[in-house]
């Protein structure tokens, strides 16, 4: 069975949904960040697949930018998590709701 | 097209495609592993002997002629050792870690060109592939440190990872200079572009790459992860047996890989007259490796803060400057004429001298005049040691002559002179001398004499207290025992023992003693 664009897109969707579930359901902030990275990777797969099956390199260029943004995001995100951990001794997002009202 | 692809193509004519993909990979893995194993053994042997010579000692020389079978013996020893898994650790990760640490080092060789056509696969992003793959080793270190369930291992892993990440940046930036000149990421094209070896066109880049690569290899002076005095043996403290040997193997494979990369990127790879290309490459690899352990046997270990400061304040800006300068040169002189050699050498010297004066590490200003000269002098000293006679001896066959007043273990007791006055027992601050006498014809006769050397301080007070010169310190240093009881020496043993008195407290003896042989070999004295 030949592999086509749809396969990659559905793979991307599956990966994205898993990441989405994790990001919404897990309580550990680090794990949430990990799941967000999975989502970004899923998007990258879709981008590169479009690039491959559209013969247009723009998709790969986008993937590069997504990687850059992911790196920046994870750096700031983890810095925040560590800063919060230092002051509150927890990374449980259900207990980090100080700013609610 | 590399060897691997050629093999694949040839196989595709006969076998189904999946087999044609799989079989060459397995064959390559096997060939490569055995080759690497050989080279690593040679490395280990050369390093141990070489470091010995640099440090004016012999190095291993017992197993086989000139100790050449020492690595084999080590390997066998390590393989038959018990495999211990800490109970608090994570069994599976503990098991997986050495493999993860070893694989990237092995995978690097897929793109190292051993000759114009001798490369496993000439992928067009070769150097990027190498950087990407070698960053995987970090994960293995992490896993090992974590799975050991040991604080020291974990701290070591964290340290190592911080170090590896920090030094990866100047490493990549210094490679970028090479890439600008060669205009390609492929290892083969990089070698082909080197009509002049890039070490001459990129002296600063080479230096930065070499230093950063040393740090990536965790070799002295950057071997923080196994700072024995602080964190035991680092992340592999809890490893033994096969798994430990895999880490050991990974370390040397990585060293081999890095040496090969240095040779490829800066020393024009397999190029060279007369000899076959693969041989040229191996010669260069070994040269690079020799320089690596030359530095190892000379320089002391850096502190953690110094290590990080050096990477971020020293190498990183210098690598950036080097990149800018190379880019500017690429625009001004696109052909990179040979005149640039001189310019780049001057720039490199100037930048190093200037930059070293600009930044501080651990609150102390780094001065090239102080540290640069110190490093150069140290390297020169160890290099001179290479040609000196080792001052160690073949121990059981040859023995050292200790200093005339050396206080050895086991006292020398002269039964005839002893008058049983017990002055020695009274003088002993820890009361380990047990002496009993009875009346004899011409005075007292010693009935029992027992000294517990397990508690002896070797203070020599008993010798000084003896009024009749019956008690001497000895010149022996070889006594050892598994049992405390055997350290309690009795009268009979004293009588039977070989009489080799030390000149301690007996100046008249000193003149007759032979000169010491440890640090002042007879050759230089005469």
């Amino acid at each position: 069975m030949a592999v086509g664009l749809e396969h990659f897109l559905i793979l991307s969707a599956v990966l994205f949904s898993i990441g989405l579930y994790g990001a919404l359901a897990k309580r550990n902030a680090v794990v949430i960040l990990m799941c967000i990275e999975i989502m970004l990777n899923a998007v990258n797969i879709a981008m590169v697949a479009f690039s491959r099956y559209g013969h247009l390199l723009t998709g790969q260029v986008f993937a590069i930018f997504i990687m850059v943004v992911a790196a920046a995001e994870v750096v700031v995100g983890l810095a925040l998590v560590i800063a919060i951990y230092r002051s509150r001794e927890t990374v449980d997002v259900e207990r980090i709701d100080l700013m609610k009202w | 097209m590399g060897v691997l692809e050629q093999f694949q193509h040839w196989l595709l004519g006969y076998w189904p495609s999946w087999a044609a993909y799989l079989v060459p990979a397995i064959v390559a893995f096997l060939v490569l592993s055995s080759f690497i194993l050989l080279v690593v053994m040679a490395f280990i042997y050369i390093e141990r002997r070489g470091v010995g010579r640099f440090q004016v000692r012999l190095g291993p020389n017992r197993a086989g002629p000139l100790g050449i079978l020492q690595p084999v013996a080590d390997a066998i020893k390590v393989l038959v050792k018990e495999d211990i898994i800490p109970s608090r650790g994570d069994r599976r990760i503990h098991w997986l870690a050495p493999i993860i640490a070893f694989m990237p080092a092995l995978a690097i060789f897929a793109v190292i060109p051993f000759g114009p056509r001798a490369i496993f696969t000439d992928i067009n992003i070769g150097i990027l592939y190498i950087i990407a793959i070698s960053s995987l080793g970090v994960i293995g270190v992490f896993m090992a440190g974590w799975a050991s369930g040991n604080k020291y291992s974990l701290v070591s892993a964290l340290r190592t990872v911080a170090q590896l990440i920090s030094y990866e940046i100047p490493l990549m930036l210094s490679i970028a200079g090479v890439l600008i000149i060669s205009g390609s990421l492929s290892m083969v094209s990089i070698v082909e572009a080197q009509s002049i070896p890039f070490i001459l066109l990129q002296p600063l880049g080479f230096l930065i790459f070499f230093v950063a690569a040393t740090a990536e290899l965790n070799r002295t002076p950057f071997d923080l992860l196994e700072a024995e005095s602080e964190i035991v043996a680092g992340y592999h403290t809890e490893y033994s047996g096969m798994k430990f040997s895999l880490f050991y193997l990974a370390e040397y494979t990585h060293a081999f890989a890095i040496s090969a990369i240095v040779a490829t990127l800066f020393l024009s790879g397999w190029k060279g007259p007369f000899l076959p290309p693969a041989l040229w490459l191996m010669i260069k690899v070994f040269l690079v490796f020799i320089v690596l352990f030359w530095a190892r046997s000379t320089l002391p270990r850096l502190r953690v803060d110094q290590l990080m400061g050096f990477a971020w304040k020293g190498l990183f800006p210098l690598a950036l400057l080097n990149l800018f300068i190379t880019a500017a040169e690429a625009i001004i002189w696109p052909g990179f004429p040979w005149q640039l050699l001189i310019l780049n050498l001057l720039i490199a010297a100037l930048l190093i001298v200037l930059w070293s004066g600009l930044f501080r590490v651990a609150g102390e200003r780094v001065s090239f005049h102080r540290y640069g000269r110190g490093i150069a002098k140290g390297m020169a000293l160890t290099f001179r040691h290479l040609f000196r006679r080792p001052i160690t001896v073949q121990y059981p066959e040859q023995r050292l002559t200790p200093a005339p007043r050396f206080r050895g273990n086991l006292l020398v007791w002269d039964e005839e002179r002893c008058n049983g006055c017990r002055a020695c027992a009274r003088a002993c601050p820890v009361s380990i001398i047990d002496i009993e006498t009875k009346k004899g014809d011409k005075g007292l006769i010693v009935e029992t004499l027992e000294i517990d050397f397990g508690r002896c301080l070797f203070c020599g007070l008993c010798v000084e207290a003896c009024p009749v010169a019956a008690l001497f310190m000895s010149r022996d240093y070889e006594q050892a025992s598994y049992f405390r009881e055997s350290l309690v020496v009795k009268k009979e043993q004293f009588i039977a023992a070989e009489k080799r008195p030390s000149a301690y407290a007996y100046p008249d003896l000193e003149a007759e003693m032979p000169p010491q042989t440890l640090l002042a070999p007879p050759k230089e004295k005469g």
Binding site: L20, L24, A25, V93, I96, D97, K100, W101 | -
Partner: protein, 634 residues
């Protein structure tokens, strides 16, 4: 050469900028620099002013044509800025620059060692620049800007020693009282603009003369403008601020509160004289207020004990004289008793000629006050006395100044006063009699001051050693003394278009003799009471006790303003109403809105759980909803 005219007032402003932005922040260790900068800039202005005077004299009709600049365009109306270089401006420029220069020289000695040295000269420069700009302005808006700037400088300089509560209070008082007048002025400007659509002075005067504006509108506009002049020139009933303004440094009093700024009111009336004189009611008001202020202030001057306050009341009185001079000629013009062209020039000449002379001798008198207090450390004349022997130069110059202000022939004061009196005799006899009484009173209080401060024996504390002031203060005084003698001999009046006078011919008129006689009587009375003590001052005071009380309490004007206007009407009446409105209506609205928002927020904020994942879920449910919407309806 309009650039030169601009330079006349821009130079001192530039000096202000240099001192305040460069010297004071960076070179505060060498404050003398600020003095040099000030002197250089004002000296340059003086030279330029002299040059301009020469040019104006040469010019036909004594007016130099000056181009104007378009300043800004709002809709269809464009506002032009320009410089008016006529004889009035030229004379005023000379007055301002000469007095200012002399005052700055004097200040070097007077302000020596003051911590606010740089600040002082910065403000003085700004004041001089603004005053020159005020004089040169050809446009009401432009004029008003400088008008307010000189007011600001006056405020800053009265409160120069702001750490003294009296000074701070006096500054505030001066500012607020003059602001009441300025309100009228501003209203008049806006009213005129609404009526005519221009700010240009020449154009407005032209419109008034041809009758394009007239009747009640013109009267109200003229009275509004005059109210500004009343405030600035401290005329009745806004006179209360000027005596208090003496809290500032004496050179400030000499320059601003005697010679120049307070004269700006007179200048304003002169500048707009054709317009104001077109309204009989308005010009009558000017004359009456001037005449009344002259005698009113003189009465208070007779009983004051503070050296500078006496001079301040004398200033008010003299300013009243000037207003009177302007007013009576204007009345003549309005009645048609004198030809329009001649009358308009004559009025300006009469008022400004006295202003010109007054500037010099009043500055001189203030210098004398400063010099005396420099030696004795007080302004209370009861604690002075005998200064004649210790300070001969001060005494001599002060005597010249006193004789000049009293109007003794042939000193400067005589000529201006003579013209005013003769014009009053012609057009408003009642005011003439008031003025004649004022002459007597002036002579009395000036010589009372002279005898008390300089005659007799020293009554102050023994610890003060009386010494003549330094040369840097004496030289300006001598300079001004010379000017006080000769300034009346200059043909300023003719130059402004007024009557000429001959040196001895003035003595031919009986009116001159009458006024001289009255002055002599005043001097004699003062001599009798305060020098020879033939008549006891104490018994006089007891005999006229009610009168004395009224006058020495300054007719209770301060109390009237404070208790009746401020407390009763403003604080208890209008402000209380505003307060109630603020409390109930405005605050009620604000609090209601805020309370409503808070109440709404209290309910809505329950949505904000602070939980990251709740928000994430909401986002994705929203995305799904949007996709579903498009799937179903798209």
């Amino acid at each position: 050469m309009p650039e030169v005219a601009l330079a006349i007032f821009l130079l001192p402003i530039f000096s202000f900028v240099v001192i305040s932005l460069i010297i004071r922040p960076f070179l505060n260790k060498r404050p003398q620099l600020s003095w040099y900068v000030t002197i250089a800039s004002i000296g340059a202005s003086l030279i330029l002013s002299l040059w301009m005077l020469v040019e104006v004299i040469k010019a036909p009709g004594h007016v130099l044509p000056m181009p104007d600049y378009q300043w800004l365009v709002i809709g269809d109306t464009s506002i032009h800025l320009g410089v008016m270089a006529d004889s009035l401006a030229a004379v005023m420029l000379i007055v301002v620059t000469v007095v200012s220069l002399v005052v700055q020289i004097y200040s070097r000695g007077y302000m020596h060692g003051d911590p606010g040295y740089c600040r002082y000269f910065a403000f003085m420069s700004l004041f001089t620049g603004s005053m020159l700009g005020l004089v040169l302005a050809d446009n009401l808006l432009f004029l008003f800007v400088f008008w307010e700037l000189v007011g600001l400088c006056s405020y800053l300089l009265i409160g120069f020693w702001f750490h003294r509560p009296e000074a701070a209070r006096a500054a505030t008082k001066a500012f607020i009282v003059t602001r009441i007048g300025d309100f009228g002025f501003l209203a008049a400007i806006l009213f005129l603009y609404a009526k005519t659509g221009t700010f240009d002075i020449g154009e407005l005067q032209h419109l008034a003369l041809v009758g394009a504006i007239g009747g009640t509108a013109l009267t109200w506009a003229a009275i509004g403008i005059f109210s500004g002049a009343v405030g600035k020139s401290a005329q009745f009933p806004l006179h209360t601020w000027l005596p208090d303004a003496m809290e500032g440094p004496t050179p400030v009093s000499a320059l601003i509160h005697a010679a120049t700024m307070v004269a700006a009111g007179v200048f304003l009336v002169a500048r707009l004289f054709p317009m104001i004189a077109s309204s009989y009611e308005a010009i009558m008001t000017v004359a009456i207020i001037g005449g009344f202020t002259a005698i009113f202030a003189a009465t208070m001057g007779m009983v004051m004990n503070d050296f500078k306050r006496i001079l301040a009341y004398s200033t008010i009185s003299q300013l009243g004289y000037m207003m009177l001079g302007l007013g009576v000629v204007g009345v003549g013009v309005a009645r048609g008793a004198v030809a329009l062209e001649v009358g308009l020039a004559l009025g300006v000449a009469v008022g400004i000629f006295h202003l010109f002379n007054h500037a010099f001798f009043k500055a001189l008198l203030f210098f004398g006050a400063g010099s005396a207090s420099h030696a004795t450390g007080t302004f209370d004349i009861r604690e002075m006395g005998g200064l004649r022997k210790a300070m001969p130069w001060t005494f001599a110059t002060f005597l010249i100044g006193s004789l000049s202000i009293v109007g003794i022939w042939p000193l400067a004061g005589f000529w201006g006063k003579e013209q005013i009196l003769s014009q009053a005799w012609h057009y408003a006899p009642i005011l003439f009699y008031l003025a004649m009484i004022t002459v007597f009173m002036t002579a009395f209080y000036m010589f009372r001051l002279l005898f008390l401060a300089f005659g007799g024996e020293y009554r102050g504390g023994a610890h003060v050693s009386l010494r003549e002031s330094p040369a840097v203060m004496i030289v300006p005084m001598v300079l001004l003394a010379i000017l006080s003698v000769v300034s009346g001999w200059l043909p300023i009046s003719e130059f402004l278009g007024g009557e000429s006078h001959s040196f001895f011919g003035a003595l031919a008129s009986p009116m001159a003799w009458a006024s001289l006689l009255l002055a002599a009587l005043g001097i004699l009375l003062a001599y009798a009471i305060y020098s020879k003590k033939w008549i006891s001052a104490e018994s006089m005071r007891r005999r006229f006790a009610p009168l004395y009380t009224i006058v020495s309490r300054k007719y209770w004007f301060d109390e009237l303003y404070e208790n009746v206007f401020v407390v009763r009407i403003l604080v208890d009446g209008i402000f209380a109403l505003f307060h109630w409105f603020d409390d109930h209506i405005v605050d009620g609205m604000v609090n209601g809105i805020a309370g409503g928002t808070i109440a709404a927020g209290r309910e809505i904020r329950r949505l904000q759980t602070g939980q990251l994942q709740a928000y994430g879920l909401a986002i994705f449910i929203g995305i799904l909803a949007i996709i579903a919407f498009f799937m179903i309806f798209g």
